[in-house]
Amino acid sequence: MKNRCYCKWNLMSTDRSSAIAELLDIVPPFDERRKSLLLTALESREQAGATVVHESISMPHCRSILVDDFEIVLGRSKKGVGWPEEKVELVILFISPVTPKSPEEHTQLIKQFADRIKDGGAEKIFAAEDCAELAELLDLDLLDGG
């Protein structure tokens, strides 16, 4: 079964912190408190080393006790988001739950995205015209996107 994702096609934010917050905003189960704690966790990871994984693609990620299922949010930006030194046009944000099996599943997810990006995959991804196409290219089911 495919993992499910949310997607925002036109990110308004132009800096990393606001872009992560903007993406967390579209996940329905996150209240303000959880959003703020998840932002702290994801930003800590970014402070420790920016997660730019390919030209123009960043992959903020963590495992957290604040989620009970995998939460994946895609964000596309035409203007580019400062991450902070490089401009990023696609953000693949994911948070994995903390369960006995989740380290392996988290690794699997990193691998899944890495496989989709490599060997010319990124070019196809950037050619996607909407959230549905983007999700499909990353082997995800789209829950909501616009």
Binding site: L37, A41, R45, V53, C62, L66, H106, I110, A114
Partner: protein, 117 residues
């Protein structure tokens, strides 16, 4: 939410990230993506140190004791149960509208509890 509880949750998330970056499978995938797990782990340890300075010593000692005993010191309450030991939590604790406004622990295992809903 109690600010100390927020800090303990953030500490727990940091500890998971630090532990993940010691796992060979995760390190391998991150390296393949061009990320630097060693450097990230070093920086995360520094962030952890800074966060620990903001947490009351007594609470931090409790957190460390629980983490070394169980691997997870902070757990969510799920359907009125401690998700660490699965024991049903006291009704008064769960029905308190201000239940996240102070540090609560599971009466059975002692883990620190927070309510996500």
């Amino acid at each position: 939410m109690d600010p100390n509880l927020e800090r303990l949750i953030s500490l727990h998330d940091l500890d998971i990230m630090i532990a993940d970056l010691s796992r060979n499978d995760i390190r391998k995938e991150e390296e393949k993506l061009g990320l630097s797990p060693d450097e990230a782990q070093k920086e995360l340890r520094q962030l952890r140190k800074e966060l620990c300075n903001k947490i009351e010593k007594r609470l931090l000692a409790r957190y460390d004791r629980l983490a070394s005993r169980y691997g997870n010191a902070v757990v969510p309450a799920i359907q009125s149960r401690c998700s660490g030991c699965l024991t049903r939590l006291p009704t008064a604790m769960c029905s308190d509208p201000n239940r996240n406004e102070r540090i609560r622990t599971c009466p059975t295992c002692g883990r620190i509890i927070y309510w996500a809903d």
